[in-house]
């Protein structure tokens, strides 16, 4: 990217004032994350000391506590979250790819209305479904199961997943599929051997997005689970006791939740930005 210092670009930022502003933004973005991570290796005394301590001899005791097999192990919640987010990702991908493929490849009468309906559901506030869902799941006696969270997260992600996958299918020329058909591939084989491999970057973008939303979700997990299907965000909220917050526990669990998301965001940035900006920028 050879853009010279002389060039004016879209306006406003000029060096070195821009460099200063950039540093402020960078500090604002990263400080809270680093502060949480630092707090997770501080013991009680260090956390309560004023002025705040930056250089401490690290105390990893709460990590051993949560990642070990003892009474307070958080492995069960981490496993629940991983399981739910993974299955949700696969289910959403499967179901929305089928729908997206139909929207992208078939011309049929109700196509526009159905797509409109699907996208419109994304705009409804999900919290409005909580009370009826609670009553329904209670009646079916499946409250507090991982199954219902998977279903809910899938439903929440279907509109966006379909929209995203449709955009990627639209970008694959139909001629390629027709050529495969001429060479004797059946419909399913064409889909598996030609269309899906070509849509792989779309599949990556969609999976990352869905996985992160399911991994981070709190509200439904908080209201619809109790013991068995409790996820790691719900366990995190429990570090907030009646009278005080258990800061080291809190920041340790927060770090454990953040780490996978931050790694994914860092290394899969390209896909993630694509998913985020699809729909707004064409």
């Amino acid at each position: 990217m050879a853009r010279g210092e002389e060039q004016i670009g879209p306006g406003i930022p000029s060096f070195p004032a821009a460099r200063g502003a950039m540093m402020v933004l960078l500090a604002f973005s990263l400080f809270p994350i680093l502060w949480i991570m630092l707090t997770s290796v501080k013991n009680e005394t260090a956390i309560f000391s004023i002025p705040p301590k930056v250089f401490v001899s690290p105390d990893f005791s709460s990590y051993w506590k949560f990642l070990g097999f003892g009474n307070e192990s958080a492995l069960r919640f981490i496993w629940n979250s991983t399981f739910i987010a993974t299955i949700t990702t696969f289910l959403t991908l499967f179901v929305s790819s089928l729908a997206a493929y139909a929207f992208s490849r078939y011309r049929f009468r109700a196509s526009n209305y159905l797509l409109f309906f699907m996208l419109a559901t994304r705009l409804l506030p999900p919290v409005t479904a909580v009370v009826p869902l609670y009553l329904l799941f209670r009646y079916l006696q499946i409250l507090d199961t991982r199954f219902i969270l998977i279903l809910i997260y899938t439903a929440l992600n279907i509109p966006f997943g379909t929209w995203l996958m449709k955009a990627f299918f639209d970008g694959i020329p139909k001629e390629l599929e027709e050529a495969a058909a001429l060479d004797g591939c059946g419909a399913l084989r064409t889909l598996a051997r030609v269309t899906f491999p070509l849509a792989s970057s779309g599949i990556a973008a969609t999976s990352i997005f869905v996985f992160l939303l399911a991994w981070n979700e709190f509200m439904f997990a908080f209201m619809l689970t109790n013991v068995h299907a409790r996820t790691i965000p719900v366990r995190l909220a429990e570090t907030m006791g009646e009278m005080q917050v258990f800061w080291q526990d809190m920041s340790t669990l927060a770090t454990l939740i953040m780490l996978p998301a931050l790694l994914v965001g860092f290394f899969m940035q390209r896909y993630l930005i694509r998913a985020l900006t699809a729909g707004a920028v064409k």
Partner: protein, 309 residues
Amino acid sequence: MNTGAVQETARRGSRAWLTPARKQALAPYLLMSPAFAILTGILVYPSLYNIYLSMWKWRLTTPHLSTFVGIDNYVRLLTADPDFWPVTRFSLGFTVATIALEFIIGVASALLLYGLVRGRRLMTSFLLTPYMVAPIAVGLGWRLMWDRDIGIVNYIITFVGLAKVNWLAETDAAFWAIVISEVWRSTPFVTMILLAGITALPNEVFEAAHVDGANRVQVFRRITFPLILPPLVVALLFQTIFKLRVFEIPYILTEGGPGTSTMPYGLLIQRTYFRYFDVGNAAATSVVLLVLGTGIALAYLRLIQDRDG
């Protein structure tokens, strides 16, 4: 139906109904049926079922005393409920304040990122990080920083010689603490959309303006801003819809307090249902939120259509 299909039909006899032509016509519906089944069963139908629930006086603790009350729950909610209007006021104020701040910071960040000659990718990754963090962790992390006694914010404030603020217990301070925490979390979304919008603009426009002697501020006001307005409007309307859903951050920072001064709709519904076991009122609140959300969504879709058409 063409002659080939008729012959085919005749030949197949009893399975005549499913001709290849019909098969072809049914395929898309079959492909999208799982998606619509889940979507309708888990989100659409339950949301609409609220309308029915909202017409009953029904407490989970005394289900045998349920009575049909028509629109009484709505009348009570809009005229006699002590919480509804404060919650609405908070939601509107919160939406306006967060969106204004996110817009300003987002535009600035996008321009700065675009202007970077080296390290743009790395810097984009760094500025994107807050958006990766689970909202619940954002809430608790900021609660640590806003804490009156051990929080870093008050430490900085006293360091420069000002008096401590009890951030999470005073009405105005709590409002701004929630706004700033949310702005921290979701500005990257606005930044990314704007950056993608600016990157998509043809460079020639800026070069031409530069040749004509326009300065930086003029280029931004007369060229960049009008050109990125469409994605900007879409981003901001999306943000408006998302702000109505805010839950985790107020729940963690203030639990809606002091009083109900920082309570979002989601928390009001949760409380009405899980603390007071009042199904009818929780459902009525949901319906009001549904109407509000639909109104904003329609305005949004209208705007998109105008843009495309």
